[in-house]
């Protein structure tokens, strides 16, 4: 079967390796039989062919001659058929006959206008981000280098971490237990009331939490522990914890709920008690989501301003032990509300705050996404 122009079988390729825009159409067959091939049987075992020149299909396509191995005809068993094909690469010419398919549906100009408007909207957050970063950088940088408060920023970072950590110490056990109750034990009616109530708690403005600390928590603690002056850090972390519990609850409950029912039922069907099922199946499976809940709560705590400024900060008249005042990052910024001028060191504190809260948040965010994908 030697034919002029065919150098021999140089490459065989199967369809998956071809490029998406490439399509091969059979132009003509030398053998009459080709026309009797049913379409399905054209390429039962791939094509063996050569290009006229080189191996790669030249731009714009090329004419290819080759064999179909194992082609079956109506008249007999497998045989090899010789055909000529034209390979098209890239855009093809529109079909000459009915061009209906390529007639666009008229949609008016709205489509394009809407697209541009949406794109414009999408630019805003990007600009906002760039603005935020550049302003913090510009404000923090002075001729003397990075602007710093007199004692440096270390105490503020320490104070922030301390209060937030202490608050989580209260909030996480309570929040997790509450989430377990809501996800596993609560009757539907209780759940229907408790969840919104907790959400309400999350919606209370933080300045009101600060007020609760100053007006109620501190006097109550002073009454309970007479003679001791209440450290600010305790009062601040307590109200902060109350504020964080709903965050922990709602995220942890979501994590618990994404554990598939089949897994719970599998455990129960093996004779496990509810408690065992929780401990061995549900909690491990929900662990990433629960850690994420804690991280996101921590991010919220770190960025909280009102409680940090008003309760933990240096306000002498509040009935808290003034010696225990704590510097915090947000407290430095909040000082502007107490009449302090806005200085470069505030920008430095802001930059550190941004880095800290984004670091914590992105760990949590990634975990949430992972938890979501896992389920």
């Amino acid at each position: 079967m030697s034919q002029p122009g065919i150098k021999g079988i140089e490459s065989s390729w199967s369809v998956p390796e071809r490029r998406a825009e490439t399509s091969i159409t059979v132009v003509s067959g030398d053998d009459d039989d080709i026309r009797h091939l049913s379409p399905y049987r054209y390429f039962p075992s791939g094509i063996a062919a050569t290009y006229d020149e080189g191996h790669a299909p030249p731009r714009g396509g090329a004419t290819v001659r080759g064999f179909y191995d194992g082609a079956e005809t109506d008249r007999g068993g497998p045989r090899r058929a010789l055909v000529t094909m034209r390979e098209r690469v890239g855009p093809s010419t529109p079909p000459s006959g009915g061009t209906k398919l390529s007639r666009p549906v008229r949609t008016g100009g709205g489509e394009r206008v809407a697209g541009w408007l949406l794109r414009l909207c999408a630019v805003v957050p990007v600009v906002l981000t760039l603005g935020l970063v550049s302003m913090l950088a510009r404000g923090a940088w002075t001729e003397q280098g990075l602007a710093m408060p007199p004692g440096g920023l270390a105490p503020a970072v320490m104070g922030t971490v301390l209060i937030a950590g202490l608050a989580l110490l209260w909030a996480v056990p309570v929040g997790l237990a509450a989430a377990i109750y809501l996800a596993e034990f609560a009757p539907a009616t209780w759940r229907r009331w408790l969840r919104p109530a907790l959400e309400l708690l999350a919606g209370v403005p933080t300045v009101i939490y600060a007020l609760l600390a100053v007006w109620v928590v501190v006097p109550a603690l002073t009454r309970l522990l007479p003679g001791l002056s209440v450290p600010r850090i305790v009062a601040a972390s307590m109200v902060l914890a109350l504020m964080l519990v709903p965050t922990v609850v709602s995220l942890a409950e979501d994590a618990l709920r994404t554990v598939p029912r089949q897994q719970r039922e599998a455990a129960l069907a093996l004779g496990a008690s509810r408690l065992r099922m929780l401990a061995y199946v549900v909690l491990p499976a929900a662990a990433p989501g629960i850690v994420a809940a804690v991280m996101l709560a921590l991010a919220r705590a770190v960025g909280e301003t009102m409680i940090m400024t008003l309760v933990a900060g240096r306000l002498p008249w509040m009935g808290l032990d003034p010696r225990t005042a704590v510097e915090t990052l947000t407290g430095q910024l909040g000082a502007a509300g107490l009449g302090a001028p806005v200085t470069g060191s505030m920008y430095t504190a802001g930059a550190v705050l941004l880095l800290l809260s984004l670091a914590v948040h992105s760990v949590g965010h990634r975990l949430v996404r992972r938890a979501g994908r896992w389920s």
């Binding site: 709205g110 414009l120 806005v342």
Partner: protein, 291 residues
Amino acid sequence: MTRGESRRSTGLGVPPAQQRRGRLFALVCMVAAIFPVVLGAALLGAAIESGAGFGAHGGLGKLSSVDAGSLLGSALGSLWLVSMALAIALPIGVGVALHLEGPRSRMRSLLALNIANLAAVPSVLFGLVGLELFVRALRLGHGMLAAAFTLALVVLPIVAVAARAALRAVPDELREGGYALGATPWQVTRQVVLPAALPGMLSGAILAIARAFGEAAPLLLVAGFAATSSPSVSGDPRQILPLHVFQVLAEPDGPSRADAAMSVAVLLGTLLVLAGWAMRLRHRHERRRDG
């Protein structure tokens, strides 16, 4: 766990020790769920009582000394500020969410990440941006307008995230139904996805409103507490409800406690109304979907 427990009991009853442990655990969890709610409610009640002094002074307590005019002014100021901020943030936020709904691309996933991060930026920092951008660069001064723009920055990512969540909650079958009928992506979005996502978006918007009402931190920087200059014509943001409360706490000789208590009560009342509204919307939507 000891071996004794894991051995199968012969009867069908659960071993009593195990049963007791399970109940105790459930009880502890229940208390944990109820405790924060009760504590929060009690503290709020005690705070309002301590400010208004119903018990000690009888009748209206110290409330008779409240300056009703200034309270009304504060409430209206808050309302005005929040309306302006939302009027800016809502359309842009929804637009961002709609843009993110488009065909997936690397740009879009970066943008989505950017917005998730913005939503996590502590709100005080937007105060710094507002101070630099609106108060100083655009010379809006320490007025309502600068405060409104700043507040819009704070709620923009929140609105975008909530709107996006609502859009993604629309089942793909509906989208496919639209495409299979030959609709363009924009037609599917506008006529199929948006109507279906509307209740979710609305409750997201309500939560954003609630958030904006109580937000104080970024306004500390733009409201001009340090500035002695009189506020601009658009109103004085220092008078809005949350900042009013802040001032009571910050200065011993600031506004009276009774005034602050009333501000707190108004804020909480607004929150309750908004939350109730959002909840009803959600319920109605769920019922409709199930029915």
